[in-house]
Structure formats: C-alpha cells, structure tokens
C-alpha cells in the first residue's frame, strides 16, 4: 500500500481521475485494500476495493440489461451506506447520470425530483423510501424499476417495478459473465464534458434546481486534492461518511477525495449515532457542517456542568491554556509558546475530551456548507483540533476558498483554493472561476444564464469582501436586511452569534424595512429541558417549554451575550418559535437550513406582535 505522500505525488504527476476510473485503477493494483467499513450490529464490516469494483461492474451490467444508456438518469434515495456509492459509481461508469435524493424528502418532493430529472430507475433504501416512490409512481411515468437495499417490511409488496438489491446484483453477475469487459470499455468511452451527476440545490426559495457536474469537473477537483485546503497534514486517509452523499460536500469528500486518496470510508450508523461512531473511527480528516460542531460544542459545555468540581477546575484551567494556544496560533501557526500551552491543556483535559469527541486523530478538519460562528471555531482550535472554515457551493463543486493551517483568519472563509480565481462584482457579489464550475442547471437555461457568464465566471449569489487574499462572506445577496433607517445588516452573522449559545438551535433575524431588529428563536429542546429539570421547572412539550417565562429570560440573557459580539445592530425583541422546525413541514431545506420566507410567513403573527 502507498503512503499518503506517495498517493499525493501520484495525483500530482498523473492528474485526477473521475471516481469510476480511479476505482478500477485501485481495484487492479490493491484489490485487498479496505474501501468501506459499515457498522451492522455493533461490528464494522469491511469491504475491499476489489469487492467494491466487482459490485460496481455488476451494477453497470445490470443497468445496461434494464436498458440504461448514456445520459439516462438514475436516482438514489438512501442514507449513506456502501450500496449508495456502489450504485452511484455503477451509474457513472455507464456514462449515465446519477441523481441523489435526500432521505428526508417528502413524497411531493420525491415526485418533483424524479419527474424533473426523468429518472428511469430508482435505488431506494428501504420501505420508507419505497413507499414514497410507489405513492407518486403514477405521476412519474419514466420510472420503470425500483431497487431496494433493505428487505424489511417489503416482502409482501406486489409491484412489478420492485426488485431486491441482491436479485439486481445477480442479474448483473449473469450479464457480467457474458461480457466481462463491458463496464471497463464503457468507462473508457466517458468524455470529460459528459455529465456525471445532477445535484439538486436545496433551494431556500422556489423549487430545487439541478446542477449538472461533469466528469471533467470531478477530474479537476481530484487533481487539486494534494493542494486543497483540507488535505495538508493528513497522515492516513480514514473518513467517516455522515454528510449526505446527495449533497455536494458529502460527494466531494466521501467519493471524489476519499476514492482518489485510496481512503477507508466508514459509514456512520445514522445521523443520531455520529458522535459515537466518530469516537470509534477517530477519522483523520473530518469534514463538518456547523450544525454538528455547534452540537459538539453545546454537548461538551452542558456535560461539563455536571462534572465534579475538580474536573471543572481542570477543564477551566485547560481552557485557559487552550485559549492562549488558539490566539497565538492564529498569529503564528508554529508558535513555540502555543505548543507548550497546548501540551499542558492536552494533558489536563483536552486529550481525553478529543478522544470522546472522536477528534483525537483528526489531522485536518473543515467546516463548510453554511456559515459558522468564529466562537465555535475558536473553541475547537483551543482544543487543539485543526479546524478551518471553507467556502464552496454545488455550482462550483464545493471548491472556492479555504483557511489552511498556515493561512488562517477567523471570520473569513480563507484564501482561494488551488487553480481558483475569485473576484467581486460591482455590487459586492462574489464571482468564482475554475475548471470545476458546473455545466449549468438541467432544463433551466434562464437560471443558468443568471449565474454563468460567457467568460466562465460563476455568480455565487453571495456578497462578500475580498482583500486579494482572504475572502469574507457577508451574506446571501437576497438575505441582506435593510432597516427602515437605511442600515445594511447581515442577518447570518447575528444568527450565528446567537446560535453559539448551547440553548439555542434556530435563530431567524428579522428587520427588513423595520425600525429595529428582532429574532425568532427555536430552543435546543434536550439541553433546555435538562436545564429546566435542574431548575425544577415543570414542562411537557416543546411549545410549553418554549413559552415558559424562565426559559424566555434565559434566552434573553443569551441573546444579550450575543449582542455584545455583534458589530452591527442589536436584537431588541424576540419571540419563541412554537414548534420545532422540520423538513417535512417545509420549514427547513433538506440540508437543515431555515427557509426564511416560509418561516416569516408561518409566524407572521408573532413578528407583527413585536413591531406593534
């Protein structure tokens, strides 16, 4: 097996490969190398690259048997699991186009996505997803087959569209025996400009749009792996796959980067067990989204409150030293005093804490996909976890800028990635150009024209500041608040400051065309409930707890704390959301981002009350 340095050198000399080609290459050279670990009944079952490639060939042959041709679409609707990647690469290896659906997508959205993408075959995870597909199947005439991974609850379903994954692979095996070179030769026919994936953007406004990413996009992304902001220093390629694979960030890390770096991809049991899985896997590279980091931060602080006085004291001492480490490292990454203070903090408490969080072996961590509060990043830096914010979006293969250990500035999203050009439009909109920029939106010329100009610049829709080195994002262009006093405010900055509080899960800042700023707050139910229990506050439901006066006082204190950090206007009033925001109710996008306009509409009475 190659060392990570040898793998990087290989990529530098021979360039990046699209995942199907890279997989074929690895499987012939290192067939016994572990590709996946999948946790079932408490045990991580290993699957080798050789087995991975064999199954991909079966999938390719079987898809061909069912009439899938080049540029046909095939959808996958599942949580992350080995079959996801096997199916995905099987689809891509035919030159067909893979479409990922979020497991939380409700039937109406499934119907939209399947019919908009004209998918012919659907890989569905289990009964839940099969039910959704069957419910809408009469409105999706193109869909001819549904292949399911989990049999549980499905054996009495009578639909000629349904097929077990194992039966599907059996067909693939028979077909493969007839023509062993079929998949290999169709991989050879793939051209860089061919579309490989369609990723639906979550769309906080309007229906989702399908971004078409080509094999060329992925090849370029793979080629910059050695220089990408979150790969330096990694010692061995061990990944935990928990970010949804249908999202560009998950696909980038768990498919393009992981396979190109011959990594081991560990599949978390479910999103609820990520913490425990992390502690078992102790990955070396950890791509995170703010939500996960916020939860780790809140969980640590809350559990520390229950610790014995001695442990609390040691933790506080360690945090003191940790803060020195973080501050000094921000100035100079190789600072000697930072090394000493970090060493002390590690011995006192942070080494064991990192082990519990699953961050002990993390050589490089990145936070992306949504803005994160600098306070949270500082917390992890003080723990000695090298975590840096990056910036990217579906339309540019999630590659634009990133902070690196050598070049980091809190509050910014870092410097441009290798081969990436960044510039600002006159109105401050960030423009990105590199070979990873997508081909366009599927069946939506108009929207494509709005974001791609003839020179290949991508209009990101984000407003920012760029000093030629570090890029700072202010907000989504359409989210910027202009108060009736004429002041421009970035709501996401304030929202993130508020969300630093362990008690607060959601914050939506309001103030467009209003006299002052206000906020809608959603509590972190478990943590507030725990707090209430200790204060002897009786409560029943989410709503009941939210409306409790003492809880409101607690939240107001937390908001005032956040107000101190905020450079722009202060939050003057707030109201509690009376329900937990949810994807199925349409309050959140599939990536758990709040849909501002939907929420403002739904809770308009609360908002109006504040401005009376």
């Amino acid at each position: 097996m190659l060392t990570i340095q040898e793998i990087f050198d290989e990529i530098k000399t021979s360039g990046g490969l699209t995942p199907s080609r890279r997989l074929r290459d690895i499987a012939t050279r290192f067939p016994d190398q572990v590709a996946f670990r999948d946790k079932r009944f408490g045990i991580w079952n290993e699957i080798s690259y050789g087995e991975f490639w064999t199954q991909v060939q079966y999938v390719g042959s079987a898809l061909n048997y069912f009439g899938i041709e080049r540029s046909d679409k095939v959808a996958i609707h599942s949580e992350n699991r080995p079959e996801w990647l096997i199916a995905d690469i099987g689809i891509q290896s035919l030159g067909a186009i893979s479409v990922g659906l979020y497991p939380t997508n409700p039937p109406a959205e499934v119907q939209y996505l399947l019919s908009h993408s004209e998918s012919k075959i659907l890989f569905a995870e289990d009964q839940e997803q099969v039910d959704k597909a069957l419910e809408v199947s009469k409105d999706v005439p193109n869909l001819s087959k549904i292949i399911y991974f989990e049999e549980k609850g499905l054996f009495r379903y009578e639909s000629d569209k349904l097929m077990r994954w194992d039966d599907f692979l059996d067909i693939g095996k028979t077909e493969y025996e007839k023509d062993k070179n079929f998949v290999t030769s169709s991989i050879d026919q793939i051209k860089s400009e061919d579309v490989a994936l369609m990723i639906y953007t979550s769309g906080t406004t309007g229906p989702p749009k399908a971004s078409m990413l080509s094999h060329g996009n992925m090849e370029w992304t793979a080629s910059i792996i050695p220089e990408i902001s979150f790969t330096p220093n990694i010692s061995n390629p061990e990944y935990l796959s928990y970010l949804p694979l249908c999202h560009v960030f998950g696909r980038l890390v768990d498919e393009i980067i992981a396979i190109n770096s011959i990594g081991v991809i560990n599949f978390a049991e479910s999103i609820d067990t990520v913490q425990r899985d992390l502690a078992e896997i102790q990955p070396s590279i950890f791509p995170a989204v703010p939500r996960i980091l916020e939860r780790m931060h809140a969980g640590t602080l809350v559990r520390m409150k229950d610790a014995s006085p001695l442990k609390k004291l040691l933790f506080r001492t360690a945090s003191f030293f940790g803060n020195i480490t973080a501050s000094r490292r921000l100035e100079n990454p190789d600072d000697l005093i930072a090394k000493i203070t970090n060493f002390i903090a590690q011995i006192l408490a942070f080494r064991s804490l990192r082990k519990k969080l699953g961050l002990l072996n993390v050589d490089n961590a990145v936070s992306g996909a949504a803005p994160i509060s600098p306070e949270i990043l500082r917390f992890f830096m003080s723990l000695g976890v090298p975590i840096y914010e990056g910036y990217g979006m579906t339309e540019n293969s999630a590659i634009a800028t990133g902070n690196t250990p050598d070049k980091v500035k809190l509050g910014t999203v870092g410097t441009p990635q290798a081969g990436t050009e960044i510039k600002l439009a006159e109105d401050g909109e960030i423009l990105v150009r590199h070979p990873g920029v997508f081909l366009g939106y599927y069946k939506n010329e108009e929207a494509t024209k709005e974001v791609l100009d003839s020179d290949g610049w991508l209009y990101t829709g984000d407003v920012g500041e760029y000093d030629g080195e570090f890029l700072k994002i202010i907000d989504r262009k359409k989210d910027i608040i202009i108060t009736s006093g004429g002041k421009n405010v970035s709501p996401s900055e304030i929202e993130n400051n508020i969300k630093t509080s362990p008690f607060i899960k959601e914050a939506i800042v309001i103030g467009d065309d209003r006299k002052f700023l206000s906020a809608l707050i959603g509590i972190e139910y478990d943590i507030v409930s725990n707090w209430a229990l200790r204060k002897n506050i009786a409560h029943t439901t989410y709503r009941n707890l939210s409306e409790n006066e003492e809880v409101q006082n607690l939240i107001w204190e937390e908001i005032q704390k956040a107000n101190e950090y905020t450079s722009s206007l202060q939050i003057r009033k707030f109201r509690m959301l009376t329900k937990e925001l949810d994807h199925e109710d349409g309050d959140l996008t599939a990536t758990q981002k709040a849909k501002r306009n939907v929420i403002m509409d739904k809770f308009s009475d609360l908002i109006e009350e504040m401005y009376k």
């Binding site: 991580w44 014995s308 442990k311 804490l353 072996n361």
Partner: protein
C-alpha cells in the same frame, strides 16, 4: 498504542478479555511477578496468598450460582467440604481409624471437583422448584445435613473433634511433601501448593470470565434478572440452574481439595454454618456478579486478620485486660464491613474499583 482502540471489525475482538496491549502488558507483568513470588516472599506471605487464591476459587463458585444465576446458596461450605474429604480419602494415608489410598494428585484433584459437581447436580432440582428465601432455607438445611454426615462418617472424616490428615502431595509420581531444592532455593510443600493454586486460579478465573461472556453466562443473568422472562426467551430453567449448581460445586470442590493440604489436617467442625456464610460475605464485600470481585474479597478476608493484628499491636490494644480479644475484634470488624458494603457499596470492592476506573475513563466529564 492503537490509534482506534474502539474500532471492532469482528465480534472476536470486541469480546476479547484483554482488548488493549496496555492490559495485556499489565496482566503479563502480574503473572510473571506471581510466579516469582515464592522466591521473594517469606513462607508466611506465601501461605496467606495461597489461602487467598484458593478461597477466591471457592468464592467464584458461589458467585456463579448466586451472583450470576441469582440462586441463593447458604451452604457453599459443604461443597468445599466434599472436595476436601474426597481428596483426603483418595490422596491421604490410611490409618486404623480412617481409609486412604495415597493416590497421585493428578487423580484426586479432578475427582474431588467432580464429586462435588455430582452432589451439586443431584441437589439442583430443588432450586428448580424453589426460589428466594425458600431456597435459602433449604441450602441452610444442607449445612446441617452436611455437618451431620461429616461428623458421623468416621471412617472418612475421623469424626468430630479428631479429624484426619489431608491428602499427600504427590504429583506425577514425584513426592513433594519434603520439598525440592532448586539452585539456592528450597521449594517447600506450600510453595508447590502455591503454584498449583496459582495455575488453577488463572485457569478457573478465565473460566468464570468465559462463562460470563458466553451463552451460558447470558442465560444465567437472564434467570437472575427475571426467571419467568428468561423462560419466555426460551431458556431452559431446569437445565441452566443445574449448570449453575454444577459449576459452582466444581469450583468449591477444587478449592476444598487443596485448601486443607496447606495445614495438613482437617476437622469436620470446620464446615460449620459460619464457614458457609463466610463465602457469602466474601462475595458481597468483593462484588456480587463480577469476575474480579471474589478475588478482591478473598484477599481482603484473608489479609484482614493480619492487618487487624498488626494495628492492634501498634496501638497496644487487644492485650490481656481489653474487653474483646483479637479474634472477637476481627469478627466485629468483618461484620461491620459486611453491613457497610451492603448499605453503601452494594457492588462491593469491585464497585469501588469500577467507579475509580470510570472516574478516569470519563475524563474530563463525569459520566
């Protein structure tokens, strides 16, 4: 150290006894130092440690039936007695009053265990019919029946007040009674008993550990926690209670066969009610339903008199003229410990060890 100690790719690793090199290292070190002990320690300490090891074996037996399978047994001492007399008869010397066959240890050691097992199995149907207090009473009766037999089978036991000599130590034809000189060291009879006890302790200790992580052990726990639920799960109560009593008596028998060879002689009065209760106390103090607990308890029980004696001596109390004599103080302290553990630390000394370990395991959290 492994980078991912909690990552298990198969069940064999997950349930291994010593999952980390760290634990393997310390266990190895303990083994090596244990085998070196007779060459370093005085014969007094060797005697104490040997007694502790043998009592630990007997306590493991009681722990299997009471701690794991949840069957009250107040008559464990009887099985130890059976082991003792089987070994004495098979390995002992015949005199005018008692029988003896002077057989090799390799014969009498397993047979004394098996004989106890046989009696245990014969008695086990009682436990299938009774539970809780009722079973406790029956096992209590067992103590008196045992005492009666021990006192009256004079050709075996020598009779009450007189007793007989224990088994002779002949191993594979080598007579170990007189001791053997190894280099500069003279290994005495008790040193050999120490080695045998140590080896048995390791094997039988691993045996208990393996029972607990096997199907049988899980069945035991199920029966302990709720016999009706266990039966509903398809566990054959009769069969597993029989196993529990059988295994338990085997441990008792093995321990008994060697325990009295240390002092050389045995008197039927030794196997009184108090003797049986001692094992219950050891299991409670050590930690019910744990592997390490009885080991802790046995050492504690054996060492306690010595510690008390030393303390009394240091403070000058317990000499003539004090209300209690040293033996009485010992009993009072021991009784006090049982009450203390039942109230404040029901999981015994193992519980203290467990919490100590978790204090550092959970660092920097508290749970």
């Amino acid at each position: 150290m492994k980078k991912r100690p909690d990552l298990y790719t198969n069940y064999r690793n997950e349930s291994s006894i010593f999952p980390t090199t760290f634990q393997k290292f310390w266990f190895g070190l303990l083994l090596v130092s244990s085998f070196a002990a007779p060459f370093i320690l005085s014969s007094y300490w060797v005697l104490l440690i040997t007694t502790s090891l043998l009592i630990a074996i007997a306590s493991w037996g009681l722990n299997v039936v009471s701690g794991y399978a949840g069957q009250v047994n107040l008559g464990h001492g009887v099985f130890v007695g059976i082991g003792t007399y089987v070994s004495s008869v098979l390995g002992g010397v015949a005199t005018t009053s008692v029988i003896g066959y002077e057989l090799d240890m390799i014969i009498w050691l397993p047979l004394s265990g098996l004989a106890a097992t046989l009696i245990g199995i014969i008695l086990s149907p009682v436990s299938a019919r009774l539970k809780g207090l009722n079973l406790g009473l029956v096992t209590l009766a067992l103590v008196f029946i045992g005492s009666h037999f021990f006192s009256n089978l004079k050709f075996i036991t020598g009779g009450a007040g007189l007793g007989r000599k224990a088994a002779k130590l002949t191993f594979m034809g080598i007579d170990l009674e007189a001791g053997i000189t190894v280099g500069n060291f003279i290994l005495e009879k008790n040193d050999f008993i120490y080695f045998f006890s140590l080896i048995l302790c390791i094997l039988l200790g691993l045996g208990v550990k393996n029972i607990t992580r096997s199907k049988i052990g899980r069945a035991f726990s199920a029966i302990r926690d709720r016999d009706i639920a266990a039966e509903a799960l398809g566990i054959n109560l009769f069969k597993y209670k029989m196993y529990a009593f059988g295994i338990s008596s085997f441990y008792g028998g093995i321990a008994g066969s060697l325990l009295f060879t240390l002092s050389g002689g045995v008197e039927p009065g030794s196997f009184s009610l108090l003797y049986s209760i001692t094992f219950v106390a050891i299991v409670i103090i050590g930690g019910v339903g744990t592997v390490l607990g009885p080991l802790f308890g046995a050492f504690f029980f054996t060492m306690l008199p010595g510690i008390i004696q030393a303390l009394l001596h240091a403070f000058g109390v317990g000499d003539a003229g004090f209300i209690f004599n040293p033996a009485e103080i010992e009993r009072i302290v021991f009784a006090f410990f049982i009450i203390f553990f039942l109230i404040f630390e029901p999981r015994g000394m193992w519980g203290i060890w467990f919490r100590l370990r978790n204090y550092f395991k959970a660092w920097p959290f508290s749970y």
